[in-house]
């Protein structure tokens, strides 16, 4: 058996190796058992966010989580979810992020009408200071974007000369959130121009296989 006080090197190696192997097997087993459930939870979360920014009352009949496209901007890659009624797009939801939050990454999904009016916004990644920056997730802050068209509504906080009411003591978060909305709007404009071109005969740049990884690579 194993000598606890004066083990040989072989004994130590064997004990550590066996423990590591058993533990890895346990982790792998739980990973396999939970990975479908975790993927389902993430899909559910996305579905909920999308339904917040693109309410069912718009009358679309497709699965928005699957009708996706990526939009490449100069400095960002956004994911666009398209709500369609029949074959006609009725609204767009665009997800964009930046790392200018007080605690890093802020990611927001913004729903747009085809004319660029904002329907609603929803933060999907927000890890700001509780009680301060986290208020960006409350309607009191983000409802101010609803119904606005960024062409006529300057998406900068008032301190920077724009029209967005910043959360008191959380200007940085407010800025990052508004920037997400502005980036999404920019992406939408670019996308709509492109689709118009596509319809008039040019090749469509749609890439149905694009997923979130494309976005992460931009880090």
């Amino acid at each position: 058996m194993i000598d606890k006080k004066n083990p040989t090197i072989v004994q130590m190696i064997i004990v550590l190796m066996v423990i590591a192997m058993v533990c890895s097997a346990g982790v792998a087993a739980v990973y396999n058992a939970t990975k479908d459930k975790i993927a389902a939870q993430e899909a559910l979360k996305l579905q909920k966010s999308l339904e917040t920014v693109l309410p069912k009352s718009l009358g679309y009949d497709n699965d928005i989580t699957k009708t996706i496209d990526t939009i490449k901007l100069d400095k960002a890659v956004c994911i666009c979810y398209i709500a369609k009624k029949g074959n006609e797009p009725v609204a767009y939801a665009i997800k964009s992020f930046n790392k200018k939050g007080y605690n890093g990454k802020v990611e927001v999904i913004t729903g747009f009408m085809p004319n660029g009016d904002i329907i609603n916004t929803q933060a999907t990644v927000l890890a700001e200071t509780p009680g301060l920056g986290m208020k960006a997730a409350e309607p009191k802050y983000h409802d101010q974007f609803n119904g606005k068209n960024p062409e006529r509504f300057n998406l900068k906080v008032k301190k920077d000369g724009g029209e967005v009411d910043a959360i008191s003591a959380a200007t940085i978060t407010s800025r990052a959130y508004a920037l997400c909305v502005a980036t999404s709007h920019q992406a939408l404009m670019q996308y709509l121009n492109k689709s118009v071109n596509a319809n008039s005969g040019a090749t469509n740049s749609a890439n149905p296989n694009a997923d979130e990884r494309g976005l992460e690579n931009d880090d």
Binding site: K4, M12, I19, C23, T34, G131
Partner: protein
């Protein structure tokens, strides 16, 4: 030492957060609300109970020279399993606790109990010790989180009872130190009262 005192010592007399002052990273960092304190406390309890039991079972097999890497492998695996389970079944809690779940690996309470108790005692006693320590930690974090939430956000367990902003300082780091200080003092006083009588 009888079974009952193995369990109860972690609750008050040797409370890991308020008397031993261990595991200060989650204690100060995560307790911005009562529910977060409760969540991290219970997650730590899960890990400390299971790691105590496994290490107690393996105590005769692990040579002294490599006991720390062996314990850490066991603890890290348990934490990874816990995180996967939470992501699958409690996604919203998992998100609000964020990095603090993986950080349980380096929580001194877990390794401390493995080292100080589980490596010298049988499986049942080790499980009791882990349960007592884990619950003591949970109680401390929940009280700390509740006080900070009441003062800082005007709510308790996410139920708003005061409309408007609270004292934001209590949500931020200074409030954590302040409340923890008073809790440590209060806990000392309580211990003195209870255990002086026994003597």
């Amino acid at each position: 030492m009888n079974k009952l005192s193995i369990f109860t010592k972690g609750l008050l007399k040797e409370n890991p957060a308020l008397v031993l002052i261990l595991g200060m990273c989650p204690t100060l960092g995560v307790t911005t609300s009562a529910i977060n304190g409760l969540g991290v406390g219970l997650a730590t309890t899960f890990v400390v109970v299971l790691s105590n039991m496994i290490i107690s079972m393996l105590k005769k097999l692990i040579p002294d020279n490599v006991h720390i890497p062996a314990y850490i492998v066991v603890i890290a695996s348990l934490v990874t399993i816990l995180q996967q389970l939470m992501a699958a079944y409690l996604p919203s809690l998992n998100e609000s606790l964020g990095l603090f779940i993986p950080l349980i690996v380096v929580n001194c309470i877990v390794l401390g109990r493995a080292e100080a108790f589980a490596s010298k005692n049988n499986v049942a006693d080790s499980a009791l010790d882990g349960l007592g320590m884990g619950l003591g930690f949970t109680i401390a974090l929940t009280i700390l989180g509740a006080i900070r939430e009441v003062l800082g956000a005007g709510s308790i367990f996410d139920l708003k009872f005061y409309d408007g902003d609270g004292i934001i300082g209590f949500i931020l780091a200074p409030g954590a130190f302040l409340v923890l200080g008073y809790l440590v003092a209060g806990c000392r006083r309580l211990i003195n009262k209870i255990y002086k009588k026994e003597e």
